[in-house]
Symmetry: C2
Subunit: 154 residues, 2 copies
Amino acid sequence: MMYFEDIVVGSKQSFGHYEVTRDEVIAFASRYDPQPFHLDDDAAAQTHFGRISASGWHTCAMTMAMLVENLEANKQAGLGSPGVDQLRWVKPVYPGDTLRCESTVLEKRRSKSRREMGIFKSHLTVFNQNDEPVLDMVSNGLIRVRDEDAPIVD
Amino acid sequence: MMYFEDIVVGSKQSFGHYEVTRDEVIAFASRYDPQPFHLDDDAAAQTHFGRISASGWHTCAMTMAMLVENLEANKQAGLGSPGVDQLRWVKPVYPGDTLRCESTVLEKRRSKSRREMGIFKSHLTVFNQNDEPVLDMVSNGLIRVRDEDAPIVD
């Protein structure tokens, strides 16, 4: 199990393989983002998307699925996330695309209000099968500290 | 139909009503964010969440559902979003919560590279039934320009 102390600033990871299907794109968009360009090829053809593309929030959800699958293999004492500093849907994600992730740890620090947790910031980019970035974000993760009695130094 | 020209900087909207069910929380998390504290009450009790909470990305998806439902009533010539500047999951969202949204338009400008579209920035806060903010973000929206031959002024 990986704790706050084990997070290495500057470390990089490459992971994930997600095949985006038309059925899943339409199912997600129907429920959560039923804008015509996510549901209908003709409507999408009248926009810069050209054809049905995945809801941006669906891309985030698929990215999370890849992240959590990666955590299964590299278990972390994760405690959720306070949020994302910047999230960019760089290019549309289309049915038939295959996604993968690259991440770099940017910084980490102990929480001052909750001794049992630390926070780390990562830069995450999602690529499609043509190695084009489709999603880019700086995310924050909370993680348990192994030794919470250790002094908090800045 | 509302176009770029109709977006009023400073205008506020209050909208949405989303009842968060345990089944939906578990269904979303099972597929996209299967961390124990989103799926299992005992595991969640060992974290600061206390009990099962919704995936943050699920909260984003439910928020999008409220936004799009609001757009049905106030049709916009929307063209998707390039991204979100800041996204904060301020408090956990729990099964049984009821969510609603408040938004304010912060700024707008014409796209220089694509004359047919403009971009506007909004501050969006999602509240639970106790009027506690649970999600806060600054989002960017693309929208069609009614008169794309109009000069682009900064």
